[in-house]
Amino acid sequence: MMNERRAKVDESGLFAALPTIDEEVSRRLHRRLVEAANAAGVLDVAYRTIDTPVGALLLAATQKGLVRVAYASQDHDRVLDGLARDVSPRILQDPARLDRVAREIEEYFAGRRRVFGVPLDLQLSHGFRRTVLSHLREIGYGQTASYAAVAKASGNPKAVRAVGSACASNPLPVVVPCHRVVRSDGTMGQYVGGVEAKDALLTLEATA
């Protein structure tokens, strides 16, 4: 969490006896800051990562709900930079706020959960893309729909490509099931987390 940086001008050597800042102190101070920040209502974005069969997922939540899920291939540091820019830079690692989401995702990958119940914050998605996301949530567990069908359901049958890009920019993959959208010829098509991850999720849902 914290990297001890040697004071650059302690030429006197007099401070060598000051206590070092070990992991335990860093963790204690970090935990305390997170608690105080939550109590003061100034922690705008809390995040953590969890390990899943499709790799480490970054989970981030505002005070309204889950705002971002990201695959490792999307580069978690870049995703956090994006959250700082698009939501708020008041970001801290805070596993507790993500406890419920993490538990639901673990249950999902264990085949014990079909629907996610956590509140979502869709602020990273706008306009037609947001409409598409709301229709994605109507595709049930173990089902698939074609890009064309989702375009039609979203009120614009010609916007097949736009549905593709809405899926590609889905800020909440896994939880908002863009992996259930496939091509009209039955082949999988692209996926924000990579084709292998899409295959893994569809296989999980077909067999669980």
Binding site: M1, M2, N3, E4, R5, A7, K8, V9, D10, E11, S12, L14, F15, A17, L18, P19, T20, I21, D22, V25, S26, R28, L29, H30, R32, L33, A36, A37, A40, V42, L43, V45, Y47, L80, D81, L83, A84, R85, S88, P89, R90, I91, L92, Q93
Partner: protein
């Protein structure tokens, strides 16, 4: 340019700010002052001007939070007798070698502050002066006097 996630600010500058708090306040109040500093900084972070020197900003906030502690301590009644063989008061004092804080504590506050900001953070005296007030030369003198006293106290302690 947009701002970094605050988590990175804590990782990057947390240790330096803690060293400053420890040198100015000692083991008991240092972690409280650190926490107050970073909470205030988190709160104000989105309003920080682009391109600001984040380390100087944090040290300035820590300076004010430490002053609050010094003032509060000066209002508290002073125990007339120090308890003999007092055990470490809390986890905050873990790892302190006896003598260092005692030697720092014996210095005037301004000497402790200038030493911390110049020697532990590495700030030039011009910047130190902007934080503690007064001139650059006065800051340099305060730090030099403090270091001389510290050297004397600590070396004397060693030869005992």
């Amino acid at each position: 340019m947009s701002q970094k996630p605050f988590e990175e600010i804590v990782a990057e500058h947390g240790p330096t700010v803690l060293r400053v708090c420890r040198a100015v306040l000692g083991p008991v109040d240092a972690e409280d002052a650190w926490s107050e500093t970073f909470l205030a900084a988190l709160s104000a972070y989105p309003r920080l001007r682009a391109g600001s020197n984040i380390e100087a900003w944090l040290v300035t906030v820590a300076h004010r939070k430490a002053l609050d502690h010094v003032r509060a301590a000066s209002r508290r009644p002073i125990a007339t007798n120090e308890l003999p063989e007092r055990p470490a008061r809390d986890s905050g004092s873990a790892g302190w070698e006896s003598g260092v804080w005692k030697a720092l504590e014996a210095l005037p506050l301004k000497q402790r502050q200038t030493i911390a900001y110049h020697y532990l953070v590495g700030m030039p005296y011009l910047q130190v002066a902007q934080i503690v007030g007064g001139s650059q030369d006065a800051a340099r003198r305060a730090a030099a006097d403090g270091i001389a006293t510290l050297r004397q106290t600590l070396l004397k302690g060693e030869s005992r």
